[in-house]
């Protein structure tokens, strides 16, 4: 029973590494495009993965100082992606 918390911490570190790998994959899609909407979807996923990483880090350290940051980023990410989607238009979406 005493080794279980250490194992859980190791699993959380591994999941943070997996989040980093998936963020790299999403950044590849963000750079390749080809349209602005692809980049917009990739940015949304990147924001969601960043939120997941923050929550996982807070769970790993037990430090709850990052939780308001998670709330703020979720709101700002929604406003940003919706605003950008208003300005991505057909023909000019490169």
């Amino acid at each position: 029973m005493s080794t279980l918390p250490a194992l859980l911490d190791a699993v959380l570190v591994v999941s943070l590494v997996l989040l980093g790998i998936s963020a790299v994959l999403v950044v590849v899609r963000l750079l390749r495009g080809p349209t602005g909407l692809d980049r917009l979807v990739a940015l949304d996923v990147l924001v969601a993965e960043f939120l997941c990483g923050l929550v996982a880090y807070a769970a790993l350290t037990g430090d709850s100082a990052l939780v308001p940051v998670v709330v703020a980023i979720s709101l700002v990410g929604f406003l940003g992606s919706t605003t950008v989607a208003r300005f991505v238009r057909r023909g000019t979406d490169r």
């Binding site: 998936s22 349209t35 997941c52 807070a58 769970a59 709850s64 929604f78 989607a85």
Partner: protein, 151 residues
């Protein structure tokens, strides 16, 4: 409650939370691979909803089980509720723009029920545009600009 059972409860909640976080992270990884390999905007949106809704909800549940403070739990509930409300709005706007623009591989669609509502877009090969009477060869669709990647 004795100290030993309280310790056991804490470890059990940590374990359940870790399992939820790992499930969310695995969904996120699968969705990222799908985002990289799927062919057009609509199918990439299909992949993108996994980390946005299910993955983030699982991770938030796991984080709430780890932190276990009243303020943190309610803030994480707020994050999950915001994500549930805002993800469909963004998906609606992006999907509408993709259907009007060149974000859809029309040759991959079985049914395009919104084909009549597209304004000014290139119609499919079986549906010639009404104000364009000189269609000599319907087997050769008009060059549809914009789709560059052949994946």
């Amino acid at each position: 409650m004795s100290p030993g059972s309280r310790e056991g409860l804490a470890v059990t909640l940590d374990a359940i939370g870790t399992v939820a976080i790992v499930a969310g992270v695995l969904l996120t990884l699968v969705a990222s691979i799908g985002l990289l390999s799927l062919p057009d905007v609509l199918s990439r949106m299909h992949a993108a909803t996994k980390p946005q809704v299910v993955g983030l909800l699982l991770v938030v549940i796991g984080g709430a089980l780890h932190l276990r403070t009243s303020v943190d739990v309610w803030m994480l509930v707020l994050v999950g509720a915001f994500q549930l409300v805002t993800a469909p709005v963004t998906a609606h706007v992006v999907g509408r723009l993709a259907h009007r623009g060149d974000g859809v591989r029309r040759d991959l669609l079985y049914v395009d029920e919104l084909v009549d509502t597209r304004d000014g877009a290139d119609p499919g090969p079986d549906r010639p545009e009404p104000d364009e009477p000189d269609v000599e060869d319907p087997d050769v669709p008009a060059p549809r600009g914009g789709w560059t990647e052949g994946s």
